[in-house]
């Protein structure tokens, strides 16, 4: 029997891996992947807690919305990365520091 705790542990693991990636990776694409991981951890949480909702399958539906939104945001993010690359010829976030004082 898979309990809620197991889901939450997987979710926390995903979240932490995503967070680590966002903080440490030197490539914007990988950071984007990290963000996706964090998003998926949240979606997993939605699905896991959806079992306790009064309305049936509302968690799963909400997760579907979230996945769609994530796809959209990923598209936007990829477009941004593409534009950044065009301008700076790199996608290493450490190199892109024009906002520095």
């Amino acid at each position: 029997m898979i309990t809620l705790t197991d889901f939450l542990v997987v979710s926390v693991a995903l979240f932490c891996i995503g967070l680590y990636m966002v903080v440490s990776k030197r490539n914007a694409i990988q950071i984007l992947i990290g963000i996706e991981l964090i998003l998926n951890a949240a979606i997993l949480n939605l699905v896991a807690f959806g079992k306790y909702d009064k309305v049936n399958n509302s968690g799963q539906i909400f997760a579907l919305f979230a996945i769609v939104l994530a796809a959209a945001t990923t598209a936007v993010a990829l477009a941004i990365i593409l534009n950044v690359y065009r301008r700076y010829k790199t996608i290493d976030p450490n190199e892109i520091n024009k906002l520095k004082d």
């Binding site: 967070l19 966002v22 903080v23 976030p93 450490n94 892109i96 520091n97 024009k98 520095k100 004082d101």
Partner: protein, 684 residues
């Protein structure tokens, strides 16, 4: 009314006569130093002064005095007047000074022609004449003192005219300092007189019925019409006046500046000795004469007599032409002071006037002789003193006009009949004998010494004349190859000599060549109470003076002109006493000059070590304090500020690190903070 107009006119003439030399001095001062016109400007000014003075003299002489004054300034209740006082005494001096100055100016134009600073010379000379002319006509004691100082100052300039000569600088310093001693006396006398009489006006104080005549000394008090002060002040005032007279008129003990003053140009010596400088002292005595009491006059007579005798003995052995004449001046001034002391007021001033002419003449002669000797020295590159009479001799053939003038001047100085000197000097001697008659037998010493002095005078004058003008030219004996071309010089040299020589003869002063009492000058100055006594002295004194003088002259002629080989011993005590001028200079040097110099160097040492040392110590202390302050400023104050700055900078740098522009870093920081918040929340 007519009288009034006359006096106004006389006053205007007087002011013009006094101001003209000053104007000339100012013009010359503005001219370039080498200008040759300066001499003529000064000469014309003094010529005009002379004419104006003569007019004033003609108006005022033997007429009531003219006195004009106006308020000069007011202090509190005291009004101080200043003005012009013209009486017989002042117009006589006015005329005398300008008449003597005129030939000196003419002579100077030639004498100073080749000097580089000719224009400066005439500036000083005119200024000198101005000071003296103003001195004789002024009526206020304060202004009198001012001009007295100016006379001293301008003589200082002229004595030190050749200021590159060390001796000239020493001489003018000496003259100035010795005159300062007298000036202090005069100043204190003026202050005392003002304290007693509350006025500076000489006419009010010293006139016949003036304040001083009303003041009496009794019970140790000097009671005047205005106030009374202890009698001691009267003596102090008289001593002050005497000091002033002694300094200016070169009386013992302040006479030593006059022989040294010979370092100036000879024409200046002529002026100083005849009319301007030394006459000021006798003139002052004439002005303040009523002030002296019987006893003070006796002291005056003693000092005058001593000075006359001492100077005459010194003049016997000197070899410097000008120095002999200088000592003879001191001697004759001694006669004048003696005359004042014995009450022969008129004779004293009479002698001043006659002496002015013949002494001026003798100095101009000396100037010509020295000039010629200087030429010989320069032409032949000799190393001789041009003033030393032992080199001279036989000049009577080479310088005939000069010789005749010198003989006339010398005879007047000796006081032989038919000259002016006879009239004035014998007058003094006769009156000195008459004065001593009514007194203790000891008082006879004074006229006897005066008599002796006039014989000594005959000897030194004869020595001078015979050594310079008679015999052989001595320089040729020692240096036979010397080439000579001598001459009297052109008219600026001879004209003054002739003028003055004529003035040395009796007709200028009296138509009776034998009686001084008939001289107009004497009659104009003597007091009405003077009794023309017919004492035995009137015949005895002149005869004894002249007979013995003639004998002395003849002896001197035998000794010096024939060159008989006879010579006085030069080792005797008296010879050394006389040759070293009675050791008075040495005494002053030991007793006054050296202690003062030592005091000066002691003060210098104290100044250098103690005062300067203190200052240096102070400087060093403040330097150290400053260094400490600088160190404090640099390391403590600045250090604190630097610390603050560094602190702020490091905080800033620390804060800057967060603005690195690295997105992940921001994100990481946010994460850390959120985690920290959570941990804190759990802990608290």
């Amino acid at each position: 009314m007519d009288n009034f107009l006359h006096s106004i006119q006389s006053l205007n003439y007087t002011v013009a006569a006094v101001a003209l030399p000053l104007l000339a001095a100012l013009i010359n001062f503005c001219m370039p130093v080498k200008s040759k016109a300066a001499g003529w400007i000064s000469t014309i000014a003094i010529l005009l002064s002379c004419i104006l003075s003569a007019k004033v003299f003609a108006t005022v002489w033997n007429h009531p005095q003219i006195h004009a004054q106006r308020i000069w300034f007011t202090i509190g209740q005291t009004q101080v007047y200043a003005g012009i006082l013209l009486n017989n005494l002042s117009v006589l001096m006015l005329l005398l000074v300008s008449v003597i100055a005129l030939p000196v100016h003419i002579y100077s134009t030639a004498y100073m022609k080749h000097d580089d600073r000719c224009s400066r010379y005439f500036t000083y000379l005119s200024f000198f004449c101005f000071s003296m002319l103003a001195l004789v006509v002024i009526d206020s004691l304060v202004l009198f003192y001012a001009f007295w100082e100016l006379v001293g100052f301008s003589s200082y300039l002229l004595i030190g005219f050749w200021f590159t000569k060390d001796k000239a600088v020493q001489a003018n310093k000496k003259a100035f300092i010795m005159n300062r001693v007298g000036d202090i006396g005069l100043l204190s006398a003026i202050i005392i007189l003002f304290a007693q009489f509350h006025t500076f006006d000489m006419d009010t104080i010293f006139a016949g019925k003036g304040l001083i005549a009303q003041a009496v000394i009794k019970n140790g008090l000097w009671a005047g019409p205005v106030s009374q002060i202890p009698a001691i002040w009267q003596y102090v005032a008289c001593a002050g006046i005497f000091l002033a007279v002694a300094a200016k008129s070169a009386q013992f003990p302040l006479h030593t500046w006059l022989p040294d003053a010979m370092e100036g140009p000879t024409s200046v010596s002529a002026l100083i000795h005849a009319a301007t400088m030394v006459a000021a002292g006798v003139f002052l005595l004439g002005r303040v004469y009523p002030m002296f009491t019987e006893m003070e006059l006796t002291i005056l007579a003693c000092i005058g007599c001593f000075t006359a005798f001492m100077a005459a003995t010194i003049a016997l052995t000197q070899n410097d032409l000008k120095r002999i004449l200088a000592y003879s001046t001191i001697s004759q001034l001694g006669f004048m002071i003696l005359a004042m002391g014995v009450g022969a007021y008129a004779s004293s001033l009479f002698h001043l006037a006659t002496h002015a002419f013949f002494k001026c003449l003798l100095f101009l002669v000396a100037g010509i002789v020295i000039h010629q000797m200087q030429h010989i020295k320069d032409d032949n590159h000799l190393d001789i003193d041009p003033q030393d009479i032992t080199h001279m001799g036989g000049l009577r053939k080479k310088l005939p006009v000069t010789f005749i003038a010198a003989v006339i001047g010398a005879l007047a100085l000796v006081g032989l009949p038919l000259t002016s000197g006879y009239l004035s000097k014998d007058g003094i001697l006769i009156q000195a004998f008459e004065w001593s008659d009514g007194r203790n037998v000891w008082f006879k010493i004074i006229p006897v010494i005066a008599l002796l002095t006039s014989w000594l005078t005959a000897f030194y004058v004869a020595r001078l004349i015979f050594k310079v003008f008679f015999g052989e030219f001595r320089l040729l004996k020692t240096k036979p190859d010397v080439k000579l071309h001598l001459g009297d010089g052109n008219w600026p040299y001879t004209l003054p000599l002739i003028l003055l020589a004529v003035c040395c003869l009796f007709p200028l002063f009296s138509f009776n060549p034998l009686s001084y009492e008939r001289a107009w000058l004497f009659e104009g100055l003597r007091s009405s109470t003077h009794n023309t006594g017919e004492s035995i002295y009137h015949s005895l004194v002149p005869i004894s003076v002249n007979v013995i003088s003639l004998l002395v002259l003849f002896t001197a002629y035998r000794i010096y002109a024939w060159e008989s080989g006879f010579a006085f011993s030069q080792r005797g005590y008296f010879y050394r006493l006389s040759y070293n001028q009675w050791y008075i200079d040495n005494l002053y040097k030991r007793a006054i000059v050296n202690p003062v110099l030592r005091l000066g160097s002691a003060c210098f040492w104290i100044d250098r070590t103690v005062v300067d040392g203190l200052l240096h110590l102070l400087a060093r202390i403040s330097g150290a304090i400053a260094k400490l302050a600088a160190w404090t400023d640099e390391y403590i104050v600045d250090g604190f500020l630097h610390l603050l700055a560094a602190l702020v900078q490091s905080i800033g740098n620390f804060a800057r690190k967060f603005q690195s522009g690295k997105v992940q870093y921001y994100l990481f920081s946010m994460l850390v903070i959120v985690l920290l918040l959570f941990i804190l929340k759990i802990l608290i």
